[in-house]
């Protein structure tokens, strides 16, 4: 295929996406009853209503009128902050532990049954225990993020480190590298593709979990915002907030995809 053919194929895909979106929005708009003034609206709001509400929210994202009325930017900020704290802590613990497990098959085998049992537990299931022990709802939400990110990173790191080619370890043995250099120059770069794959999977699941956790704990965050707007029967806000979480998830995934690209090596 020549360059022109490839480009036109990509253009065709973009064009198809745009057409699909237009058709979808058109059908959505047509199927929505036009609200008559004075009568309470029924059914879902249409895309035009959602867009105008979205514009309202985005144009003033940081206002704060008390606990039940905060700008979308502030709510998103709370969620992102919880995510970054819980996620970074999980990444730190999981990578350290994963390297240890990957380097010692005995320990790996000993701990693997427990990891396998803990891994499939929904991170939200821990919530009551955290609320009981930590006694702080926001920190409990952070712990939920921690639990949701821990296992994928741990499993991937251990798998990646255990699978490092013997040759690379032989080189570090021949060169008598100190354990720190061995870790920094050989083990981590060698396992980096697997570790970043784990980071990428878990940032997605962490973002999914934070919305649910915030619905439970209430107070602040995008999840709470969705729930609060539902209680206010503001479906336009709910729909826009849902789309917004999807967009943030996309941005996070894109970030880790680019990180993966820089850390992947060809043999």
């Amino acid at each position: 295929m020549d360059q022109v053919g490839v480009l036109s194929e990509r253009k065709r895909a973009i064009l198809s996406s745009v057409v699909l979106l237009t058709v979808f929005l058109g059908i959505w708009q047509l199927s929505v009853k036009t609200p008559t003034p004075g009568v309470k609206a029924e059914g879902l709001p249409g895309p035009v209503a959602v867009a105008s509400r979205a514009w309202e929210m985005v144009s003033d994202p940081f206002y704060d009128n008390g606990p039940n009325d905060k700008g979308i930017g502030i709510q998103l900020g709370y969620s992102v902050r919880r995510l970054s704290i819980g996620y970074s802590a999980a990444a730190l613990v999981a990578i350290c532990l994963g390297v240890m497990l990957g380097l010692s098959p005995g320990l790996y085998r000993a701990l693997n049954p427990y990891i396998q049992v803990l891994k499939p537990i929904s991170p939200l299931a821990w919530m009551p225990l955290f609320l009981y022990t930590i006694k702080d709802s926001s920190q409990s939400a952070i712990m939920v993020i921690f639990m949701s990110s821990l296992w994928p990173i741990l499993a991937n790191t251990a798998f990646g480190v255990a699978g490092i080619k013997r040759d690379y370890l032989n080189v570090s043995a021949l060169l008598q590298l100190s354990w720190f250099k061995r870790l920094w120059k050989v083990i981590l770069p060698a396992a980096a593709p697997a570790i970043v794959a784990g980071l990428r999977i878990s940032v997605g699941s962490a973002w999914v979990a934070i919305v649910a956790a915030e619905m439970l704990i209430g107070g602040t965050g995008i999840g709470y915002f969705v729930w609060n707007e539902w209680n206010n029967l503001q479906l336009t806000s709910v729909i826009f907030a849902i789309l917004l979480t999807g967009f943030v998830g996309l941005v996070l995934d894109f970030g880790f995809a680019s990180l993966a690209k820089t850390l992947t090596y060809k043999e």
């Binding site: 040759d167 032989n170 021949l174 060169l175 008598q176 590298l177 120059k185 090596y265 060809k266």
Partner: protein, 280 residues
């Protein structure tokens, strides 16, 4: 006392059914300082395992390795290996790969001294201009030049070459062998190489150690190659003596292949091989 002494080294592997499989038995080999010794044998005779034992990457089941008067059983910077599959770190550039080794060997050197030294070895193997390429961007021949530069740059007491030319295309192989000979002549390193390329062994070596086939392989014979140095490969290949040695070794390897595995007829085979040599 030889510089590198392999004293009655044996290697057993445990099979899944609990039996001990003997790879090779009581290998005794002495290598003098600055000598180039090559071990030739069929696949499975354990020659690469022996090389790894000398490198300290594997342990022997019996026997000892003595280097410069000291027994060794762990890896060390006094021995560097050039691997068949190059074993370069793929996330590092050519320069970084060599620099990692140089920094490990000469940790007391200052940064600019290390950089100059690394560059000198890169130039020596003709890779100037490719310093910042990753190994994946290089041909097999170029990768092994990096492998050679890395090994020589460390200035080890012993250089261990594990079929270093096996994965390099035939056209490049000769050039890299010449490269190795030049570097070896300049540094006067002690070299232990394993290969199953007989011609390569004769061109490069002072002595060739012949292993019988495994399991329970033994060191059967040591052939001395007394061509003067520096050697020119084209001239050596034409010598009658070259043909004679080559025929002798190939005959030996052929006899080994007919041998029943795991019995004790090795001694007879050695005699057989020697007789062929005498006739040739």
């Amino acid at each position: 006392m030889a510089f590198l002494e392999v004293e009655y080294v044996s290697k057993y592997f445990s099979e899944p059914n609990g039996q001990q499989l003997c790879v090779f038995k009581d290998v005794r080999l002495h290598i003098q300082k600055s000598e180039f010794v090559t071990m030739v044998g069929h696949s499975g005779c354990g020659k690469s395992t022996l090389l790894n034992i000398i490198a300290g990457l594997e342990t022997s089941s019996k026997g000892a390795i003595i280097l410069d008067g000291k027994e060794i059983d762990t890896p060390g910077l006094d021995r560097m290996v050039v691997f068949q599959n190059f074993s370069l770190l793929p996330w590092m550039s050519v320069y970084e790969n060599i620099r990692l080794a140089v920094k490990a060997a000469f940790s007391e050197w200052q940064s600019h001294k290390i950089n100059d030294y690394v560059q000198r070895y890169i130039n020596m193997v003709g890779l100037a201009g490719s310093e910042h390429k990753k190994p994946a961007a290089l041909s097999g021949g170029m990768r092994q030049r990096v492998g050679l530069a890395r090994a020589f740059a460390v200035q080890p007491k012993v250089l261990l070459l594990d079929e270093p030319f096996a994965q390099i295309d035939a056209l490049t192989r000769g050039a890299i062998q010449d490269e190795l000979m030049r570097m070896w002549a300049a540094t006067q390193n002690t070299v232990f190489m394993v290969t199953h390329d007989v011609e390569e062994a004769i061109v490069l070596s002072d002595k060739i150690a012949l292993m019988t086939s495994g399991p329970s392989a033994k060191l059967a014979e040591i052939v001395e190659v007394k061509f003067p140095r520096p050697r020119l490969r084209e001239e050596i290949l034409d010598l009658a003596e070259f043909g004679r040695i080559k025929k002798h070794i190939i005959q030996f390897l052929k006899n080994c292949a007919h041998e029943q595995p795991a019995n004790d007829t090795t001694a007879d085979d050695v005699v057989g091989a020697r007789r062929v040599a005498a006739e040739a």
